[in-house]
């Protein structure tokens, strides 16, 4: 079977690559963007000192990380207070997120065995949310039903008690804070890599060339027929 694909040798490929100019500043910005979005405060500061790349005010990153951490540790009330200090609009204009946080609070109360407190909290804080917005009622019922089961690890709604639920909420909170700071919630680096994989897939149809198969080391592998 004759291949109709064009063959590009490694030598030719590397020559072509060398002709493409990439600016150092752009790469620095990408790295900074990654560090900031992911919340690596100290690394971001060090990188700024060493490369001269600017970033947004670190305090905002620190604040955001504090909120995320509070949620991840189950200190939801603390997280709410911190978000409101950062930007009172976030929870005031995002009923879905607010409900999710309140739901997490309820879950933590149930997890700690504080049944009476949980019921009172559900009645005083969560039921009004359900009245204000019917779509929350179903979620509320699911959460309350945790109290019914003795063996919560096996019940249908057991996943609510899982740490993954906290992480889910934490991610939502992080995204909301980032958006409110007019910062995009996803770092650019993954998108670049996805673009690379897509481009290679496209090129695969037309040519055999040195491609990158392992993203972590970005090594060029020789073209094969």
């Amino acid at each position: 079977m004759a291949s109709s694909k064009k063959l590009i040798s490694r030598e030719e490929w590397e020559k072509r690559l060398n002709n493409v100019k990439i600016r150092k500043e752009d790469m620095n910005k990408l790295v900074m963007n990654f560090l900031v979005t992911e919340g690596y405060v100290e690394a971001a500061e060090k990188f700024r000192m060493e490369s001269g790349t600017h970033h947004i005010d670190l305090a905002t990153i620190t604040d955001r990380m504090a909120v995320k951490k509070a949620v991840q540790c189950g200190n939801v009330e603390d997280a709410i207070e911190k978000i409101n200090d950062l930007n009172p609009e976030i929870l005031d204009t995002n009923p879905q997120l607010f409900f999710q946080l309140q739901q997490q609070r309820l879950i933590e109360l149930i997890r700690n065995g504080k049944v009476e407190e949980a019921l009172e909290f559900a009645q005083e804080e969560l039921a009004p949310r359900g009245e204000e917005n019917q779509s929350f009622l179903e979620e509320l019922e699911r959460t309350i039903s945790l109290l019914v089961f003795e063996d919560t690890s096996n019940c249908p709604v057991g996943e609510l008690l899982d740490i993954s639920q906290r992480l889910k909420t934490a991610t939502e909170v992080n995204a909301a804070v980032l958006t409110s700071q007019s910062h995009e919630k996803d770092p650019k680096l993954p998108s670049l890599l996805k673009m690379l994989i897509w481009a290679q897939n496209q090129l695969d149809k037309k040519a055999a060339y040195p491609c990158i198969n392992d993203l972590s080391n970005a090594r060029l592998e020789d073209p094969t027929f």
Binding site: I80, E81, N84, P88, E89, L91, D92, T93, N94, P95, Q96, F98, K114, E116, E117, E120, F121, E124, E125, P128, E131, E132, Q134, S135, T179, S182
Partner: protein, 666 residues
């Protein structure tokens, strides 16, 4: 039993802590109030009732001069800053999406203080204050901003020029809320505001772009002059930045950009008219329906504003499967009322003109869906369902097939005649008006459901729009209906009610009442007796109303009613003659001449038709009547119209003249 919220003080306890002399206690209490109310409408209401807003506003007012420079870092000034920040944040939260809160904040006199604090040296204070003011300006209760005053315009410009997002956002919010007239729009343009907004569009942050889009749309609305000045010189560049934002990654930005483009399209025939942009807008808006949040709720309304009254867009949308997509969303169920209402109205707009759209919609078996919506707990949804029904019932094909005259639809529709909301009543009447023009003989279903009696009741409503729409529905109901049905309607209405409706203070009611009479007496000679009932009450009312008709439409319907009466026997024709000639009072002419000389050809046609019936050769009294008409100058007036440009008029005139020649006229 220990309270679950041991650490959380009760609201009344918190409010008393607000009055503490110790700044730290005050700050903590303010922060606690703020944290309790954010996101919590129920708590906002209960704190409101306890008088929290005046208390917090009072603290703001007292502390307004406590932070005078940004350099003090001691405990006192920190407390002072925190008091201002927390009280501003609390007031902002009360005002956020909560009209009662906005009103309370305004009533407490906090507004001028908040404005003053925009000049405060401390950044955090300015931020909190700007945010609070922005919340107020998102409500329609916000104080009106007078753009035409020079000082105010300068202040606005300074807001927009600020680097702080919340402050420039406030500037944009003020424009979006307060700019209403063409004069204000021009003033904003002349002050260079559009250039500033455009720069925020291209170089600003996400919230600045969104705010800018809303403000631009407000300034462009119904103002082609401003639009062409904005878009003209740069040859489409500013417009292209808005078009780009319609493809932005954030749904809210896409929606606002689309809304801005639609405002431009609707105001100005020169821009955004090519098929490419039309198709793009349709696709983007249909895709935004998938958004689960507020953006998805508002998307159908934007879609409606794009396609309403525009057949070309409705056709394009049909090809883009708009009806399937809208239907798909409704089928999902448990919709937010706003979204439900929006989608129903969008479907109503889609089906308002094109039979192809109606066919498509009806092919999806939607009657049960509409019946459900008619009984929804939300008034907006019920009204929207009626409006949607009114659009689909314009389908003559399906009306003729009797598709709509069934209990699934008619029963809930008739129930809406008693709806507490007037707009729902009127919308239900609109849909009914179409449905009762059922060309099959199944109109009795409507009577059985009590619909006819309800309509007569509504004809006595205090609301003129309800009266006129009820009469409209009755008019359609008796259109070509059988005698029994008509007699039923007439006996329910009674001559005295009908004659008083003919002389109703509202012209629209008069018109519909006369049209109802026209339809009632049409067809069978026995029915003409209706107008003679109770000593000719109705006939007399018609005569009086025609004498002082305030609109052409009243004249038209009244003349056709007389025309139908004049199609009867000698007695009927003579009664009409008498009507035409009495009540001239101090006027020398009969209103007949006035109508014949009217610019409205429909009115001329109706009048000539009446003369045709009065002078029809087969009746013995025709020569005598013709003589009278000649003496009153009516025949010569008609002769003048022999070459009228309107075909209907010309033909009827020739009929009259032909008939008059049969009696040896020259």
């Amino acid at each position: 039993m220990p309270s679950a919220t041991v650490n959380k003080p009760r609201p009344s306890e918190l409010l008393s802590r607000l009055t503490s002399a110790e700044p730290e206690v005050k700050v903590r209490a303010l922060r606690e109030v703020k944290n309790q109310i954010i996101g919590n409408r129920t708590k906002k209401l209960s704190f409101l009732k306890l008088g929290a807003v005046p208390a917090v506003a009072g603290i703001l007012a007292d502390s307004i001069d406590d932070v005078t420079d940004n350099n003090n870092c001691n405990n006192d000034s920190n407390n002072a800053i925190n008091i201002l920040v927390q009280s501003a944040a609390a007031l902002g939260s009360f005002a956020c999406g909560f009209d009662a809160g906005v009103q309370a904040v305004l009533d407490a006199g906090a507004f001028p203080n908040l404005l003053r604090l925009l000049a405060n040296p401390n950044e955090k204070v300015v931020d909190a204050v700007a945010r609070a003011l922005r919340m107020i300006y998102q409500s329609k209760l916000a104080p009106k901003y007078d753009f035409l005053q020079q000082k105010n315009m300068e202040f606005l410009i300074s807001l927009l020029n600020s680097e702080k997002e919340n402050v420039s956002g406030l500037g944009a919010s003020i424009i979006t809320r307060s700019c209403e007239t063409n004069l204000e729009q021009k003033a904003l343009f002349d002050a260079g505001i559009l250039r500033k907004l455009n720069s925020l569009l291209e170089g600003g942050s996400l919230s600045q772009r969104d705010a800018s889009l809303e403000s631009l749309a407000t300034i462009f609305r119904n103002n082609p002059e401003v639009i062409s000045k904005f878009a003209g010189p740069e040859i489409g560049r500013p417009l292209s930045s808005i078009i780009d934002l319609a493809k932005d990654r954030y749904p809210r930005t896409r929606l606002l950009a689309c809304m801005c483009l639609i405002v431009i399209r609707n105001a100005s025939p020169h821009f955004l008219q090519d098929i490419g942009i039309k198709t793009k807008l349709i696709h983007i808006l249909l895709e935004l329906l998938d958004d689960p949040g507020q953006v998805g709720d508002e998307a159908p309304f934007a879609f409606s504003s794009l396609i309403a009254q525009k057949e070309d867009l409705q056709k394009l949308a049909l090809e883009a499967n708009a009806i399937d997509k809208l239907h798909h969303h409704i089928k999902k169920g448990s919709l937010h009322p706003r979204r439900y209402e929006g989608i129903l109205l969008a479907l109503a707009d889609m089906c308002s003109k094109l039979e192809s759209c109606r066919s498509k919609f009806l092919s999806l078996q939607v009657l049960n869906l509409l019946a459900d919506a008619l009984t929804d707990y939300n008034a907006g949804v019920r009204a929207a369902a009626c409006i949607c029904l009114k659009s689909v019932t314009r389908s003559i094909k399906n009306l003729s097939a009797g598709y709509f005259m069934n209990e699934t639809i008619v029963i809930p529709l008739v129930q809406l005649f008693l709806d507490p909301s007037t707009s729902v009543q009127v919308a239900a009447l609109g849909a009914t008006s179409n449905i009762v023009v059922d060309f099959t003989t199944r109109k009795s279903i409507f009577v059985q459901c009590g619909g006819m009696k309800q309509l007569v009741q509504l004809a006595k409503s205090m609301e003129s729009s309800v009266r006129s729409n009820a009469l409209w529905a009755l008019k359609n109901f008796v259109f070509q209906a059988d005698n029994r049905l008509k007699e039923g309607v007439f006996s329910e209405l009674t001559a005295s009610l009908l004659s008083s409706l003919i002389r109703d203070p509202e012209p629209s009611v008069q018109e519909q009442a006369l049209a109802l009479v026209r339809n009632l007496v049409d067809g069978c000679i026995n029915l003409i007796e209706f107008v003679f009932a109770e000593d000719g009450l109705i006939l007399g009312a018609i005569g009086r109303q025609l004498q002082c008709a305030s609109t052409a439409e009243i004249g038209i319907q009244g003349m056709y009613a007389l025309c139908n009466v004049a199609s009867g026997n000698e007695f009927h024709k003579e009664a009409v003659m008498q009507l035409l000639f009495t009540q001239m009072g101090d006027k020398n002419q009969s209103f007949v001449i006035k109508f014949l000389q009217s610019n409205d050809s429909r009115l001329c046609t109706a009048t000539v038709w009446t003369i045709v019936n009065l002078t029809c050769p087969s009746s013995p009294g025709a020569p005598g009547r013709l003589e009278k008409l000649r003496n009153a100058g009516i025949v010569s007036q008609i002769k003048n119209m022999v070459n009228d440009p309107c075909v209907d008029v010309k033909l009827r005139v020739r009929t009259v003249l032909g008939q008059s020649m049969a009696f040896g006229d020259n």
